[in-house]
């Protein structure tokens, strides 16, 4: 349940500023690391700024969403939501320059299939990378398997993600049962789904509980459709007396909506410019992953056995002395 989950304890933050702070820190940490390492060609201009990283992040996130939507067999929505959440959490503490988002995005999808028990074999998974050849798919798979543990580590091993989809279903059931004022809640479903898909592309998952996001989605769709649902909160949720909680709820919903409005798709020319920079950073300073592969025992210094002492053999010379 959400109220005892690691998501609530560790991955729900207070406000957007703290998230920005974390991302800036990650960026800065990477820069300092590279500057301290003293490699040639290192200068501040080469690196991406935090806002540039943000643009690229949104671009790759959209690509992840498209990849998941085009996935065969059809990925359940919770798997998609989990994958995007992993992506977001990973780049909260790491810089895009250190780990290329193209790889990480595939690993997020792969891991979330595993965690959410959506059974896809690895070959089937890389088969969905339609634009690559078979060799390219192989390489992608190798990269995925190599970085998977890194992803899990950076997620601090907190793999269970609570998405707003099930709370949304629960709220619809509740509305149908206890709130007869709203005649046909099913009509809201399409716009609610749409809202939830758009909300996963914002930071709301890291700031608000999923049930609040679902509530916002439903109330928003209702008001868009011109239906009034104010009394739902006061009557059914028992918040008539509890003004404070009610105010907080409205506040949360307002913030979620403003986050949604602020989101915009990244502009293509900006994206391309920053992508070039990113590729250069990775080409120059990225560690080649193949080097890290473990070698077999041949290269390790293993202790050689001591040679046996040669015994003195009986030779013909001895015979001569007889």
């Amino acid at each position: 349940m959400f109220h005892i989950s690691s998501q609530k304890k560790y991955w729900t933050f207070d406000n957007e500023e703290s998230l920005e702070q974390l991302r800036c820190e990650a960026n800065q940490k990477y820069r300092n690391k590279m500057l301290a390492s003293g490699k040639p060609g290192v200068s501040d201009a080469v690196f991406l700024e935090a806002h540039e990283e943000n643009v690229l992040f949104r671009h790759y996130e959209k690509r992840l969403l498209d990849f998941c939507n085009a996935f065969k067999p059809v990925m359940p929505k919770s798997v998609v939501g989990t994958a995007i959440m992993y992506f977001r959490r990973f780049y909260l503490n790491n810089s895009l320059m250190e780990y290329h988002p193209r790889t990480i995005m595939l690993i997020c999808a792969y891991l979330s299939c595993k965690v959410d028990e959506f059974n896809v074999s690895s070959t089937q998974f890389v088969g969905n990378l339609v634009q690559e050849s078979a060799a390219g798919q192989e390489r992608a798979l190798e990269q995925i398997l190599e970085y998977e543990l890194l992803l899990i580590q950076q997620l601090n091993f907190h793999l269970v993600v609570h998405t707003p989809y099930r709370p949304m279903e629960g709220l619809l059931i509740d509305i149908k049962t206890r709130y007869p004022l709203l005649e046909n809640p099913e009509s809201l479903r399409k716009s609610v789904d749409d809202f939830l898909t758009r909300v996963t592309l914002t930071d709301s998952g890291l700031l608000f509980p999923p049930s609040q996001i679902a509530m916002t989605a439903i109330l928003n769709s209702a008001s868009r459709a011109g239906l009034s649902m104010e009394s739902y909160l006061t009557e059914c949720m028992g918040l008539k007396e509890d003004k404070e909680t009610l105010l907080k709820m409205y506040d949360a919903m307002r913030r979620i909506k403003s986050l949604m409005k602020k989101y915009e798709l990244p502009k293509p020319d900006e994206v391309n410019a920053y992508k070039v920079k990113l590729e250069r950073v990775h080409a120059d300073f990225g560690t080649n992953s193949n080097m890290k592969r473990k070698r077999g025992y041949e290269d390790d210094d293993h202790v050689a056995k001591e040679p046996r002492m040669t015994e003195e053999e009986w030779t013909d010379e001895d015979l001569d002395d007889l």
Binding site: M1, R166, P167, E169, G170, I173, D174, K248, D318
Partner: protein, 387 residues
């Protein structure tokens, strides 16, 4: 056959044969189980293969240094003294051997018999008085380990306090550390005299405690032995019983077959009826056997104490502890209260959930479960306080 020479002699070309010739350390051959051949008096002697070595000294296996002096008698000379690790090769005692604090003496069995035919004698090489009873079969491959095990047994006979003899854990650990020190010192021949004195002093002071603990140990051992004995007896009995059962069954079968054959011969009743009768009888016999097996022998009381065992009447210590009070768990969900699973149907929630198919219900699923989970997720964290 070969004759071990010390390095000095072989270097200087002395091939003299002498039983009491001391064997120097560096003259011994290292490892290997191959043939070493040396010339002695024009005879080629070779070492046998099946000897195990310890630091170049034959330790186990057959005593191979059969030494023929051109005469009738064979003397085993290869029971060589194995040196403990702390050898200072430059120090030599008067008969030419390195001076050691304590040596381990290895002998093969036949040599032990021969050398100590009178009951006690001296080590061939270094004249230390040894007794035959002190020779034990080597249990561990590494002789140092064997030595340590023996020393430990002796020490622990004296230092036999247990953990409840001490008032706190720290004291018990200190005591154990002292014991380990003593064992270490004795094994590696450090301060042997001082250690022995310490042991004697301890023995004198704590004589009564040692005795008491010895008594306790023996009692525990007795109990263990009793249990083992009972187990063994039980096993034996069961085995015998099963054997007897089998025998009886075989006999019964044979008898009934024989009876059938006889009847087929003699009687005028048609064969099919006879066969049917025979089958009935066989089935009856089997059920009888089954019933017999279920007769349980009463050998134990209902509390589990076997009949006929002596029960110790020592008092058991009473432990006073705080009693446990049940308190129901309270979970803070940060949201409105969720209706109970059983109430969902009555409250009408289940009308809006997909009904469970018969296949699902057979597996134990019902629609209330999915509904309850959805409602729980919807209400959990709804009133979560924000920053």
């Amino acid at each position: 056959m070969c004759f071990l020479l010390c390095g000095n002699c072989s270097k200087m070309g002395h091939w003299g044969l002498s039983e009491s010739h001391p064997i120097g350390y560096d003259g011994l051959y290292q490892g290997g189980a191959t043939t070493i051949q040396r010339r002695v008096f024009g005879l080629h002697l070779s070492l046998r293969h099946d000897v195990q070595y310890f630091r170049g000294l034959p330790v186990q296996g057959e005593c191979v240094w059969d030494f023929v002096m051109g005469a009738e008698k064979t003397i085993h000379l290869a029971c060589i003294m194995a040196y403990s690790f702390l050898i200072a090769p430059t120090e030599l005692c008067d008969n030419g051997l390195p001076l050691l604090a304590k040596e381990i003496h290895f002998r093969c069995e036949s040599c032990v018999d021969m050398l100590f035919v009178r009951g006690s004698g001296n080590c061939v090489q270094c004249d230390t008085p040894l007794r035959k009873s002190n020779f034990r079969v080597q249990l561990f491959e590494d002789p140092a380990v064997d030595k340590e095990v023996e020393i430990r047994k002796k020490v622990l006979k004296i230092y036999n306090k247990r953990d409840f003899d001490f008032s706190n854990l720290r004291e018990y650990n200190d005591y154990l550390e002292r014991v380990e020190e003593i064992v270490y010192n004795l094994t590696n021949n450090l301060e042997v005299e001082g250690t022995k004195q310490i042991m004697e002093a301890y023995q004198r002071e704590n004589r009564d405690i040692i005795q008491k603990n010895k008594a306790k140990l023996t009692r525990e051992q007795e109990e263990l032995e009793e249990l083992l004995l009972l187990e063994q007896q039980g096993n034996e009995q069961r085995r015998l019983e099963t054997l007897q059962e089998e025998q009886r069954q075989l006999q019964a079968k044979r008898k009934s077959k024989q009876a059938l054959l006889d009847e087929l011969e003699r009687s005028h009743v048609p064969a099919t009826i006879l066969l049917a009768q025979h089958k009935d009888r066989a089935a009856q016999l089997e059920t009888q056997i089954e019933k017999q097996k279920q007769v349980v022998k009463t050998t134990i009381f209902s509390t589990g104490i076997p009949m006929g065992q002596t029960v110790s009447l020592l008092t058991v210590n009473r432990l006073e502890e705080v009693l446990y009070h049940y308190q129901p768990i309270h979970m803070h969900t940060y949201g409105p209260p969720v209706p109970e699973l059983e109430q969902l149907g009555r409250l009408g929630y289940l009308n809006h959930v997909r009904t469970a198919q018969p296949q699902d219900m057979a597996g134990g699923y019902n629609s209330g479960l999915a509904c309850h989970r959805a409602i729980q997720d919807a209400f959990s964290g709804l009133f979560h306080p924000l920053g």
